[in-house]
Amino acid sequence: MAIVTVENLRKNYDDFEAVKGISFNIKQGEVFGFLGPNGAGKTSTINMLIGLARPTGGKILIDGIDAVKSIKKVQSIIGIIPDENNLYPEMDGFDNLCFCASLYGMAKKERERKAKELLEQFDLAKAGKRPFKAYSKGMRRKITIAAGLIHNPKILFLDEPTTGIDVESARQIRELLLDLKRQGKTIFITTHYIEEAERICDRIAFIVNGKIVKEGTITELMENVEREHKIKLVLDGNVEKLKEEMEDIFSNCHIEIPAENSCLLISQEPVPLSPILQFLDSKGINVYEAKELKPSLEDVFVKVTGIRASKLVKEKEKVGR
């Protein structure tokens, strides 16, 4: 059953159409990813869902509540982790968490208990009494996520949760998100890290220029894209000289030699391996490994949007996150 339903959602800023009538739904306990380049409409969409922006048109239902009409009711059941760590720099981690809990009307004892519990869970118990401004980027990110969880929300909205932090902190955050997923928490996440979306999300929507261009589970997204069969062979010799001969014999294959001791067989059809292995054997070349390279979500993204995944990361890094 859908816990979030979005229908024909639109957002205009004067003459500029940031979101052009998007529709999607998120099932209870699902992790839904929103992937797209800068300016695609990700933040505008998340802002409309959480109540920081007013939709120009369309419908948002969250846990059966009309989010356009009763956003305050919605805000009591959602947790929000913005793309920037927006806690209070002068306050320590513990006080920041307690303050965030109090905004949801939690009583003193309960908020202190929950704050301590989250500090432990996020491995920040020792740093709990240090001012937020003295934290490293990774620690700030973790405590910002903890602040979004303090009131035990039904649905979690995360905007770029691992952008601009160190590898280890990013890994810990991904683990934590996977933990939350296992606990059955519904999560809406925007990210530009395709591999992150692939690891965490159950379903993904690609958004470009304010429109959802593709949406589905990872398997569906992969299936729907025309795919090539790629087999990588690891050899004990160079097949550069044999390339033309191989392409003549195995006419349905295109051969690429990415490195001295390897070769890539690319075909639109499944590639039978034994004739190739026999051929190489007859030429005195041993094959140590044969591996099918499956298309990645990145390939799907590139095919659907025409945007190179590396461009997404570079764009984000350019804006200084």
Partner: protein, 245 residues
């Protein structure tokens, strides 16, 4: 209701601890009006009675204690996006606005009574209706804090908020009858003077402390209250329009 009160109390407590109790803010709210009083006292070669200075001193303390503080703290929080947390909390905009205003109002009122406590050592302050004075100080604080909020909604940067605060405060100080009595102002400026909330607040204080009011206390209270209601409404309207895009 209980949840709203918890959130309200926490925002107020956080603001007091994080902003209002910081030494630079306390000194700004107190030192500036005291320096002004000393300047007036010296320039009059001591002929000015301390009691005559008191209404102006109190009004200035409230004005300076509230407007810039609220404008600067909100702009600062908006800049760091911590203000988004408050906007995204399940509390109404009115509760949020009231909580933010309350800190500034308390701070302004406290500032206003510091000169009173100091003056009480030197002069006899009996015979003053302190209930009326307290209510007047409260309304001056509310209207000044709302002006601060109005500035905060328009400003994007902290320096912008400070500049805008002065743009409102200094003309108000010169036109509200504190430096120059309203009856001595040029005819063109007199109507402007009556468009300023501080004029009415100062007039009540003058009436209560020195007996020199030009308007009836009830008239001044009514106008001041109307200013507060209209400003509150305008601020709420602007917040919804400008902060939730």
């Amino acid at each position: 209701m209980q949840k709203t009160l918890i959130a309200f109390g926490s925002i107020l407590k956080k603001d007091i601890q994080n902003y209002y109790l910081k030494p630079p803010n306390i000194s700004w709210g107190i030192i500036f009006p005291l320096s002004w009083a000393l300047m007036q006292f010296i320039s009059s070669s001591g002929s000015l009675e301390m009691r005559q200075l008191l209404p102006g001193l109190m009004a200035m303390s409230v004005l300076f204690g509230t407007t810039s503080m609220l404008a600067v703290t909100i702009t600062f929080e908006r800049r760091g996006r911590s203000f988004d947390r408050l906007l995204l909390a399940p509390i109404s905009i009115s509760t949020l606005v009231m909580a933010k205003l309350s800190g500034a109002i308390l701070f302004g009122m406290l500032n206003a009574f510091i000169p009173v406590f100091l003056a009480a050592y030197f002069i006899d302050l009996t015979g003053i209706n302190w209930y009326v004075v307290l209510t007047a100080v409260l309304l001056i604080a509310v209207s000044s804090a709302l002006i601060g909020l109005f500035i905060a909604i328009s400003a994007k940067e902290v320096f912008e908020a400070q500049t805008l605060s002065n743009f409102f405060r200094f003309p108000m100080l010169f036109l509200c009858g504190l430096f120059i009595p309203i009856e001595k102002l040029p005819t063109v400026l007199k109507p402007i003077s009556f468009c300023l909330p501080l004029t009415y607040g100062t007039d009540i204080l003058k009436g209560m402390i020195t007996g020199n009011a030009i308007l009836h206390t009830l008239v001044s209270f009514s106008v001041l209250l109307t200013f507060c209601v209209v400003l509150f409404y305008l601020c709420q309207l602007n917040i919804k329009r400008k902060w939730i895009l």
